[in-house]
Symmetry: C2
Subunit: 405 residues, 2 copies
C-alpha cells in the first residue's frame, strides 16, 4: 500500500465546484488502494478577505491574533473538502494543524515546523479514511495556533510527506510544471520532466513563483520526491528530486526573471575592517533580506563602493538604515534604485562546464543589455539589469542555452 500526499493550493479549491472536482480526483487515487493525505490552502481569496477585515481594525495586528484569524481559512476548505469526499462515499476526515500533530516553534506568523506527531493521522488512515490537513499552520507548546509563513502550505505538505515517509508529494497548482523559463515571456519555454532540488531551489528563490524554496529545502533534506502538476489537467508535471547525473547534459536548466528587487548603493565607504558587517547586521536586525552583495575597492585603495539588492517592499527602510550607517562611517552617502530587474540562469551542470558565465554575458551584450551587478553560485548566475530589459534578457538567454529544444 502506497502513501501519497496531495497538496491543493487556494486557486484549486477556490469554489464549491473546484472542491468537488478535487474530491473526485482524491477519491479516484484512494480507490486504487492508496493511503491519501491531502493538504489544503484557504479557498481563493479567503485569506485576503480576512486580512482586509483586520486592516479595517488595525494596521499592526498582534501576530498571535493574526494567526488565530487567518488560520480559519484553511479550516473552512479542509472541512468542505472532507464533506465533498463523504458526499461521494469516500470516507474522509479533516484535521487542523494541531489535531494532525503539527508542532511548530513558538513564533507567531513564521514558526517553523519542529515535529509532526503522526498518531492521529496514522489512526485515521488505518481506518481507511482520506485525511485532510489544514496547510500553513500548526500549534506551539502552549497550544496556540501558529501559521508558518510564506509558502506555508507547500511546506506543510512536504513535512507531512516526510514524516509519513510518503512515496510522493503531489503538489497541485495552477501551472502544469516547471518550465525552462516563464512561458508568458518566451513561447519556446519547455516543461522539464525532472529537476533537481538544488536547481529548483535556485529557480524558486529567483522569482519563478511555482513552489516555495522552504518546501523544496524540506524535500531535499528528507529526500521527498515532489510531483508538481496541474490541478485541472490530468497530465504529468515536473518531478523535483535527487539530481540524476544522467540527465545533466545541459549546463543550464532554466532562466528566471525577478522584478521585485531594488538596488541600494553606499558610496566611498572608508575601507576599514567591519564596516560591511555593521551595515548588514543593522539590516538583518530590521529583518530585511539582502540578496546580492557587491563590493568594489576604489583604485586609491582606501575607499570602497558597496551595492546590494533587497525586495522592493524593503527598499525605503533599507535605504534609511544604509544612510544612517553611511553617516556614522563617514561615507559619501547612500542611493537607491528601484528601476532594476534580475535575470538568472540555473543548472547543476554549470559546476563542470566552464565558460557558462562568459556565454551569458556575451548573449546579454549582443542585445545591448547592460549588466549592473553580477553574483554567482555553483549552480546559478544572476545579473541585475535596467528595468524593462529583463524580458529581452530572458529570451536571448533561453535561446543561447538551447532550452527550447
Amino acid at each position: 500500500m502506497v502513501t501519497i500526499v496531495h497538496k491543493y493550493g487556494g486557486t484549486s479549491v477556490g469554489s464549491v465546484e473546484k472542491i468537488k472536482n478535487v474530491a473526485k480526483k482524491v477519491a479516484a487515487v484512494r480507490a486504487k488502494g492508496n493511503k491519501v493525505v491531502v493538504i489544503v490552502s484557504a479557498m481563493g481569496h479567503t485569506t485576503d478577505e480576512l486580512i482586509d477585515l483586520m486592516h479595517q481594525i488595525t494596521k499592526e495586528p498582534h501576530p498571535r491574533e493574526y494567526d488565530m484569524l487567518v488560520s480559519t481559512g484553511e479550516q473552512v476548505s479542509a472541512a468542505l473538502l472532507s464533506l465533498a469526499l463523504q458526499e461521494i462515499s469516500c470516507p474522509a476526515i479533516s484535521l487542523t494543524g494541531g489535531q494532525a500533530g503539527v508542532e511548530t516553534e513558538d513564533i507567531y506568523r513564521k514558526g517553523r515546523i519542529k515535529n509532526i506527531k503522526l498518531k492521529r493521522i496514522e489512526q485515521e488512515l488505518k481506518e481507511g479514511k482520506v485525511v485532510i490537513v489544514t496547510g500553513f499552520q500548526g500549534i506551539d507548546s502552549k497550544g496556540d495556533i501558529i501559521t508558518i509563513g510564506r509558502g506555508g502550505s507547500d511546506t506543510s505538505a512536504v513535512a507531512i510527506a516526510a514524516a509519513l515517509k510518503a512515496d510522493v508529494c503531489d503538489i497541485y497548482t495552477d501551472v502544469d510544471g516547471v518550465y525552462t523559463t516563464d512561458p508568458r515571456i518566451v513561447t519556446e519555454a519547455k516543461k522539464l520532466k525532472t529537476i533537481s532540488y538544488e536547481e529548483m531551489l535556485e529557480l524558486a528563490s529567483l522569482g519563478a513563483q511555482v513552489l516555495h524554496p522552504r518546501a523544496v529545502e524540506c524535500a531535499m533534506v528528507y529526500g521527498i520526491k515532489i510531483h508538481l502538476r496541474s490541478s485541472t489537467k490530468d497530465i504529468e508535471g515536473t518531478y523535483i528530486r535527487e539530481g540524476n547525473k544522467m540527465e545533466v547534459k545541459k549546463a543550464v536548466r532554466g532562466v528566471a526573471l525577478d522584478k521585485d528587487i531594488a538596488k541600494i548603493g553606499i558610496l566611498k565607504v572608508p575601507d576599514k575592517p567591519g564596516s560591511a558587517a555593521k551595515l548588514f547586521k543593522a539590516l538583518a536586525d530590521a529583518k530585511i533580506n539582502v540578496d546580492m552583495i557587491i563590493q568594489s575597492v576604489h583604485s586609491a585603495g582606501s575607499q570602497a563602493d558597496m551595492a546590494f539588492t533587497v525586495g522592493k517592499g524593503d527598499a525605503i527602510r533599507a535605504l534609511e538604515i544604509t544612510k544612517n550607517i553611511a553617516k556614522a562611517q563617514k561615507a559619501e552617502g547612500a542611493v537607491c534604485d528601484t528601476e532594476v530587474e534580475k535575470v538568472s540562469i540555473v543548472g547543476t551542470g554549470m559546476i563542470s562546464q566552464p565558460g557558462v558565465a562568459a556565454k551569458m554575458f556575451e548573449a546579454l551584450s549582443s542585445k545591448k543589455i547592460n549588466i549592473e551587478m553580477i553574483s554567482t553560485s555553483e549552480i546559478k548566475i544572476s545579473c541585475v539589469v535596467t528595468a524593462g530589459q529583463g524580458k529581452k534578457a530572458v529570451a536571448v538567454l533561453h535561446k543561447k542555452f538551447d532550452l527550447g529544444k
Copy 2:
C-alpha cells in the same frame, strides 16, 4: 477585584464598526479595575454563509465536519475583537473553546459542556488581559471541535461565568431586556427589572427568543446572576436570578406566544397499557421533541384519543411515525394540524394563587378564542389556539393580568 463575563451575540459583532464599539465598552469595564472575560458569537450572518457553502456540497453533512466548519465563525470574531481591543491599548487575547479549556461530551453538533479547565483563562486574566473566548464550542476527549448546539454561546458564557465564580454574566443582545410579553404585539408590554430562573425558563422555552433555556438552566444550577441587556443602549436590562419572594406580588409575570407548533392527533387507540409509551418512544428515537401531550378516554372506556404538539419542522416526520404506530395498534388513524399557535402565561406566583387558570380561560373566552389543548405546570399554563388568534389572545391576557402596570 470583580470578575465579569460579557457575552456578545452575532448581531452585536456583526460589522467592523460594531466590533470597535464592543471593544470600547469592554475596555471601559476593564479600566474600572474589573477582570473581564468576553464570549462572542460569529459575526452576523457568517454561520449562515458557511452553512450555505456546505449545502452546495451536501444536504446531510457529517456532524464532525459541520462543527469543524462552523466553529471558524466564532474564531474570526474573537480574533477581530481582540485586535480591536489591542488597537485601543487594552491588553487582550482570544482563545478558542479548546484553548480556553472548555471540555464537552464526545457528541458533535450538540455536545454539552462537561468541564472547564480554567488554567489558561486565569493566567491571562492575571496578566491583566481581557480574555475573549469563542462561544458555542469546546473540544472533546480526542481534541475534536464540538459545537454545543442551539443557544450555544449563551450557555458558553454562563458556564464560564460559573467556573470563574463570576459576579455577573452580562448577556448583550439586540433587545434591552425581558418584557411581560412581545412589545411588537402588545404596546403596553413592560420591561421586567428582575425575573426568576424558573420564570425565565418557561418564557424562554415558550418562544420568547431572548435567552436560550439551556443557558438559564445552567445559571440556575450554579446560581449565576445574568444581566440581559442591550448592546447598543447603555441602560439597565433585566436581571435573571434566584426568585425573590418579596417581588412575587403578581401571579403572572409574562405572556408568550409560540407560532412554531403543529398538533398531531391519533384517534381511537385501543386503550391498552403501553400504547402511549410505544408512540413516544418512537418519536424520541427519531429525535423529535414533543411538547404538550393530552389523552382523553372515550366514554366507552376502551378507546382513547391522544394529541400532542411538535415543532412545525418535525410535523411531517411525526405524522408518519404516528400513522405507522396507529396502524400497528389498530387505531382509527392519525391527523396533523399545523394551523395552530400556543399562548402561555408564566409566573412563580401561580403556585400560591388559585384561580389563575380559570381567569385565563375566561379572558380567552371573552374574546371568543377557542382553546384546543391545555397543559399546565406549576408556574405555567399553555393553551393551543387556532392560527391567527395568538396575538389577540396575548393582548387580552396581558391586560387581564395587569402586566402593563
